[in-house]
Amino acid sequence: MPRSGGVITALAFAFLSSGTIAADPLAVGRQMLMEDNPGELWIDQGKKLFHNKRGPKNASLEQCNFGLGAGKLEGASVKLPRYFADTGKVQDLESRLLTCMEQLQGFQRNEVMKRAISRAGSNGSDIEALALYITSRSNGMKMNVTLDHPKEREMYKAGEYLFYRRSGQTDFACVQCHGESDKRIRLQDLVNMTDQKQIQEVVSTWPAYRGAHFVVRTMQWRLYDCFWQMRLPELKYESDTSIALTMYLHYQGNGAVMKVPGFKR
């Protein structure tokens, strides 16, 4: 049995013997994880990266427009992804960040992308810290993604289609693991993304500190990692596929109150 099984078994026994927890001994371990979230440290890091002058153009990101006007962060994340007229694209937070880092600061988009998803146990990437900082400025606000622009509706429907699209040697689409409640892969709880309450819990808790990786992870990483487990080729960072799925999920999660960083196993 893998190592983690032993730890959880021990936890489960601790609870069963204390006689206070009946229904779900695993919930206790999860609660313990929530109480002290190292992800908070990344917020300060992201704040510095946002306000400091950086890159070949020696500029900050203070003029970046995330949809509500240049530099306006409060309430911006809860409306993403959305259509941006200047790029002619539907963008999520991370792809919009790339646009600003390229245009305002002069960074090479491809170079930033290569490092966007950090290695486990590292200090994390600039994108991870920035995404968390910017999202945290919408903490306490409700997810409110709209489908006003035809391109937004296109993205939403494409995301829905992709959520149910089975392929590869596991015959998996998203829904095979995320279509029913109270399911687990081994000991890992699976979120039922067809249940509004559960999907709200997801969209309001990314970026999140990932305990097993010791770094903050973003929604782009979350999707990339699912495709890896599905035995499919690697999902490109800021690809339309990733943004379509995010559009679909975020819209389904409308009404959720943002509270980042989340804390994941």
């Binding site: 049995m1 893998p2 983690s4 099984g5 959880i8 078994t9 489960a12 035809p150 509706r153 296109e154 939403y156 429907k157 494409a158 829905e160 289609y161 992709l162 149910y164 699209r165 089975r166 392929s167 590869g168 040697q169 596991t170 015959d171 998996f172 689409a173 829904v175 095979q176 693991c177 279509g179 029913e180 109270d182 399911k183 687990r184 892969i185 081994r186 000991l187 699976l190 067809t194 495709f227 890896w228 487990q229 035995r231 499919l232 080729p233 690697e234 999902l235 490109k236 690809s239 339309d240 596929t241 990733s242 379509a244």
Partner: protein, 210 residues
């Protein structure tokens, strides 16, 4: 005259509201399939073919989990049955000990950081979704419990054949179920599947212990 004016107005209104609707399924499919074609990378170009859907996968990708028509269910079942290849040994049940290891192995064939996971053989993935031997806690519940599988069914030739077919291509019996078509997709070899059959059926296997 008046009536036709209203008709024109109504038509205009319809067209305007029409703009605020979603693209139809055929359009969505075209847009999304184009994305799938452009948005993935793999160390070997041939591995990108993993994203292409076969006929059964297309049928089994209904939005919102809508029910299959009778014809669709029949087609998936027929394609599944036709896909099955039996082991060259002619025996459905192999070595339960090797099956035990395979059932608890969730690795193999994943692609990360531009590399294909290097493995002698793929894991069987069973533990991810199924309860196995009694008392094992690190098991999933996406699929039904397999604890006592052989103890409940016996290990006749007919049960062994059914079990082999079920693992080789689960859609033979349950079209479009969540279970991967492990043999048909090439994830597992026929020989590996015989070991899993033995693991499920052999009275000595931990699955069938009290």
């Amino acid at each position: 005259m008046k009536n036709s004016a209203w008709t024109v107005l109504g038509t205009v209104a319809l067209i305007v509201t029409g703009c605020a609707t979603f693209p139809d399924h055929a359009t969505t499919r075209q847009i999304a399939e184009k994305m799938v074609g452009e948005d993935f990378t793999a160390p070997q170009p041939a591995q990108l073919k993993r994203l292409a859907q076969d006929r059964s996968q297309q049928i089994c990708s209904k939005i919102g989990g809508a029910k299959l028509t009778q014809d669709e269910a029949a087609e998936v079942t027929r394609l599944a049955r036709d896909s099955i290849r039996f082991p060259s040994s002619g025996k459905y049940a192999g070595d339960w000990k090797r099956g035990n290891a395979l059932a608890h192995d969730g690795a193999g064939d994943r692609i990360q950081f531009g590399k294909l996971e290097a493995r002698k053989e793929n894991g069987g993935l069973c533990q991810n979704c199924h309860a196995l031997a009694p008392g094992e806690i690190n098991v999933g519940n996406v699929g039904p419990s397999l604890t006592g599988y052989g103890a409940q069914r016996g290990n006749s030739e007919a049960i062994a054949k059914y079990t082999y077919e079920k693992i080789y291509n689960a859609w033979t019996y349950f079209p479009c179920s969540n279970m991967p078509r492990l043999g048909a997709s090439g994830h597992l070899t026929p020989e590996q599947i015989t070991h899993l059959v033995a693991y499920l059926l052999d009275p000595l296997s931990p699955v069938n212990k009290k």
